[in-house]
């Protein structure tokens, strides 16, 4: 599950990078930047919903819930 989350996150970084690339290259003359930014928003929403589902289903346990401080 952890790997799935990381892979989707990498795809988000990739679409951000592409948006930045087209921001620089197309100089506002194409819709590539806004298109890649839209892709990244959709991916982020999907990832967020997946994380909520995974926590609810117990596939991943947030470390905050373990509440440990060691000494």
């Amino acid at each position: 599950m952890k790997y799935f989350i990381v892979i989707v996150f990498l795809f988000i970084l990739y679409s951000m990078g592409s948006a930045l690339f087209y921001l620089s290259r197309d100089k506002g003359q194409s819709s590539n930047t806004v298109r890649f930014l839209t892709v990244r928003v959709v991916l982020s929403v999907v990832l967020f919903m997946f994380i909520i589902l995974a926590m609810k289903m117990g596939w991943i346990v947030p470390h905050g819930l373990q509440v440990v401080a060691t000494g």
């Binding site: 620089s24 100089k27 994380i51 905050g64 509440v67 060691t70 000494g71």
Partner: protein
């Protein structure tokens, strides 16, 4: 060659802002080093830093105000536009490196340093000799139990709300972006205002979270490696959201004044990209700091 000789590359000859920026940075750094090294120069110490910040703020408004005016006066040709875009790339490169260093510190501590202290791999002697009985778990303030017991913020509480707020703000700014490209100014402004409000609400809850951490959980900047990485990452992210919100407000006011066109809106697009970047950093924080 027509593009190159479209007009001359605009160079302002009486630019006073670079020297003001140098002065502001110099005073800020001097003030900060006086303050953080706890030199006993009260009550001057914090005020030197604040004076530096004040100069920087005046510089930003003055300099960017001039740039906006020059842009609206059509003094910039395509070459200048290219320079701005190249500048954006370098700026983002520095931002990525900045956050990579703090995320890197977090990963290094969690994956290597803490397990080594717990005796992982060939480091059994380290554990036995230096920190006998220390068990490597995360979160930890380290084997010396720096600053005492603490609790962490649950991912299910405020961080979840904040993730939802920032994600929603990314959706609203994307709607505004599409609207601007479709030349629908009114729709763009409405969705930009929504984005600003969501960003401000995020900041409000972030302050609430810090108050909770400091007053009830004993989680502070001094709570060992967890406290340091937690507050450095979320704190600098919060600073970026603050700056991003100010940038969004400026862009919204410019839209109201009639700036930007459907195919000529670098200022808008750069700020929109920056806002997406800030949201992605938060998503990374939510995943790696709060959840995993």
């Amino acid at each position: 060659m027509t593009e190159m000789s479209e007009k001359q590359y605009y160079v302002p000859h009486t630019a006073k802002w670079p020297i003001v920026a140098c002065l502001g940075l110099f005073i800020t750094v001097i003030g900060a080093s006086l303050k953080f090294n706890s030199l006993d120069l009260e009550p001057t110490t914090p005020w030197v830093m604040y004076l530096g910040f004040a100069i920087l703020i005046v510089m930003f408004f003055g300099w960017f105000g001039e740039v906006i005016k020059e842009s609206e006066d059509n003094l910039y040709n395509k070459q200048v536009d290219g320079s701005f875009r190249a500048g954006m790339i370098w700026f983002i490169f520095s931002e990525v490196m900045f956050f990579a260093s703090f995320f890197g510190a977090l990963f290094y501590a969690r994956t290597f340093a803490v397990p080594w202290l717990g005796g992982e791999g060939t480091n059994l002697a380290t554990n036995v000799q230096l920190w006998p009985g220390y068990e490597a778990v995360w979160p930890t303030n380290g084997p010396a139990d720096v600053n005492g017991r603490f609790e962490t913020i649950s991912a299910f509480s405020l961080p979840l709300v904040n993730t939802l707020l920032l994600l929603t703000s990314s959706i609203t700014i994307t709607i505004a972006h599409h609207a601007l490209r479709a030349n629908d100014r009114k729709k763009t402004i409405i969705w930009m205002i929504a984005t600003v409000l969501l960003g401000a609400t995020f900041l409000f809850y972030q302050v609430e979270e810090y108050i909770e951490a400091y007053q009830h959980l004993n989680l502070t900047l001094k709570s060992g490696i967890y406290g340091s990485t937690f507050f450095m990452l979320t704190g600098f992210h919060g600073l970026h959201v603050t700056l991003g919100t100010i940038m969004l407000i400026v862009i919204t006011v410019r839209l109201m004044k009639g700036h930007f066109k459907a195919h000529d809106h670098f200022g808008f697009e750069a700020v929109a990209w920056y806002w997406h970047f800030v949201d992605v950093v938060w998503l990374g924080l939510f995943i790696f700091v709060y959840v995993l």
